[in-house]
């Protein structure tokens, strides 16, 4: 089974849960930016959580099914259309051979996900089907979809869950304001007190410079401590001897615009990181459209771990709600 790409959309890629274990040679984990939405799309069609889905950015694709297929669309709110007729999101849909799947205008957020029962069946590269565009691996020929591509879909071996739609209470919100929890650390001692205060008390806005690699914010900037730079560290006070970059870490080159690295992060470089977004809020960050007003809230490592447990429990309740219906 397969689907034909009539029109690719702005940036549509194959993603799964990512490719851990190769960050030491500069290959990022990658995978779906909004892990929760992708996992729920898979659950709705009865796929295991590691199945590959299509991640669509802002402007969706137009696809034609070669055979009957079961699909679900989750993530950012978007009108889902089958042969031009609107169908619900967060819901299992049965499509016939020849059906055309298309999308309307996004009503917030950044990315939505299409799961097909059986999963996208492109070859695995280093244990994952995720597309890593910079390195040209995974997905369809290591790149975003293009018109004329034929995307292979696997055969489903599992039954879909009892419920065909996810209750509203388990659907994320896509607000224009966000509160993002961070753990201070790494090189935060290089900030002045005023610099630290500015990071934590200012409102920062997501700029249009935001993609799978990272998100850039505008705002009042921060102040670095002056010092004699260590050997090899470059001349700006925001420079360090090139080091590994944590995924979710915040760097502020020159003290002006914070950049938060996301799933397709560059693995290292010479800018000081001062904090890291907690794992539980990485999906939230993935949903931030340009213009989103953002506040960074400091939490401890213990609080980050507690938030991680709460997020896992919330996801489990969402999965259970599908199974029990």
């Amino acid at each position: 089974m397969a689907c034909e790409v009539i029109s690719p959309g702005l940036s549509t890629t194959v993603q799964d849960r990512g490719r851990p274990g190769y960050y030491n040679v500069g290959i990022p984990e990658g995978g779906s930016m909004d892990r929760y939405s992708a996992e729920l799309a898979n659950a709705l069609v009865g796929n295991p959580p590691e199945a590959a889905v299509l991640e669509c950015t802002y402007l969706g694709p137009v696809l034609r099914l070669t055979e009957a297929a079961t699909i679900a669309v989750t993530g950012a709110p978007v009108p889902v259309k089958v042969n031009g007729e609107e169908r619900p999101g967060w819901t299992r849909l049965a499509l016939e051979a020849g059906d055309e799947l298309s999308f309307g205008t996004l009503g917030g957020g950044t990315r939505f996900y299409i799961a097909f029962a059986g999963g996208i069946d492109v070859p695995e590269v280093l244990g994952s089907r995720s597309t890593y565009i910079l390195g040209g691996i995974g997905g369809v020929n290591g790149r975003k979809l293009e018109a004329g591509d034929v995307v292979p879909i696997g055969t489903s071996e599992t039954e879909p869950p009892g419920a065909g739609t996810l209750p509203e209470e388990f659907r994320p919100t896509f607000a224009k304001e966000q509160s993002v929890r961070i753990v201070m650390g790494l090189y935060d001692h290089r900030l002045t007190e005023a610099g630290r205060e500015s990071l934590l008390s200012s409102e920062w806005k997501v700029t249009p410079v935001a993609d799978r690699m990272g998100i850039r914010y505008s705002g009042p900037g921060v102040e670095w401590k002056e010092r004699e730079q260590p050997f090899g560290a470059g001349s700006d006070p925001s420079n360090i001897v090139d080091a590994g970059y944590a995924v979710g870490s915040i760097q502020i080159p020159g003290g002006t615009q914070p950049i938060i690295l996301h799933r397709d992060a560059v693995s290292g470089g010479g800018y000081a990181m001062v904090a890291t977004v907690i794992s539980a809020d990485m999906d939230l960050l993935a949903r931030a459209a340009p213009g989103t007003a953002t506040r960074f809230v400091e939490v401890s490592l213990e609080e980050a771990l507690e938030a991680r447990r709460e997020r896992a429990a919330y996801r489990d309740r969402a999965l259970t709600s599908l199974a029990e219906a």
Binding site: I137, G232, A233, G234, A243, G244, I278, L301, L305
Partner: protein, 301 residues
């Protein structure tokens, strides 16, 4: 084993959220700091602790990714501190590695063309070339002298990353002889694939085309990242370089560069390389004398 020579100061431990532990061995770059990083990283990789997903040694620090659901942060930190103490106690100042000859066309037309597009507002001295600027800031006579200094002594791969398979290189010479060049004032949006670049005290070879801020000196002739794994050197893995590799650049003229392009296209190109045991103590005591010995391994092939 006499007195330990690895960096003895205690490393700084800090958390990158709930999935990363960052260990800064030293704020400044040095061969001894890098050696300690590599020693801790290899002990950690060998230990194979469940829950450790990535061990990323860098120039003077290491980054560890872990799953806190499997391995509590405190347990990971305790384990790494133990490895750090073992590394500091000595016994690990020899690295079994390889020396590799990397052919480079210096002052090539590909990087020159890109450099021309990023002068005003990007470069410190828009009217000259990157090579001329590098020669000047290092107090050298001209670009030719800088090129000679660049390929005469070998380099150590001190880190792999930024993007897939990109090696950071640290030249095996005394600190006073280290080439240092500031990065571009503002990063370029384009860098040719296989550009041999330099920023701060580090050399680099850009594995893929893309953004970059390092000064550009030449172009390496053969791939260092081959996702299709067509060349023999990539049979086992799509990334060529590993931390600890020793690199000797070999200058090429246009004809030699083109000959290698043909070999790459025919799938017959192989890097000249030989195994070596790299001894930190000797590299620190007499870099140039020791380098001559290292290069013999390559020349003896």
């Amino acid at each position: 084993m006499s007195t330990p020579i690895l960096e003895r100061r205690e490393a700084r431990y800090t958390w990158g959220g709930d999935e990363f532990l960052f260990v800064e061995v030293d704020e400044a770059m040095s061969l001894a700091a890098n050696f300690k990083v590599m020693t801790i990283a290899s002990k950690l990789a060998e230990a194979g602790l469940p829950g450790v997903t990535d061990v990323c040694p860098a120039n003077a620090s290491l980054l560890i990714r872990f799953d806190p659901d499997v391995l509590p942060p405190a347990e990971l930190e305790a384990a790494v501190r133990t490895f750090e103490q073992e590394a500091a106690a000595g016994g690990a100042d020899t690295l079994e590695t390889r020396i590799i000859e990397v052919p480079v066309w210096y002052d090539d037309p590909f990087t020159a063309e890109v450099a021309q597009r990023f002068r005003e507002g990007f470069h410190q001295e828009p009217e000259g070339s990157d090579l001329e600027y590098a020669a000047k800031v290092n107090g050298l006579k001209d670009a030719a002298e800088f090129i000679r200094r660049h390929h005469e002594q070998p380099w150590l791969v001190s880190m792999v990353g930024f993007v897939a398979g990109l090696p950071f290189l640290f030249q095996l010479v005394d600190r006073k002889n280290q080439l240092e060049v500031p990065k571009y004032l503002s990063p370029r949006t384009d860098t040719p694939k296989l550009t041999v670049g330099h920023g701060g005290c580090f050399g680099a070879i850009y594995s893929v085309r893309g953004a970059g801020g390092y000064q550009m000196f030449g172009i390496a002739a053969a791939p260092i990242y081959d996702p299709a794994q067509e060349l023999a050197d990539f049979k086992d893995f799509m990334v060529f370089f590993r931390p600890g590799d020793i690199v000797k650049f070999k200058p090429l003229d246009e004809q030699e560069y083109n000959a290698i392009q043909t070999e790459v296209e025919n799938g017959t190109f192989r890097y000249r390389q030989a195994p070596v045991a790299f001894e930190l103590r000797r590299a620190l005591e007499d870099p140039e004398g020791y380098n001559r010995e290292l290069l013999e391994a390559l020349n003896g092939m």
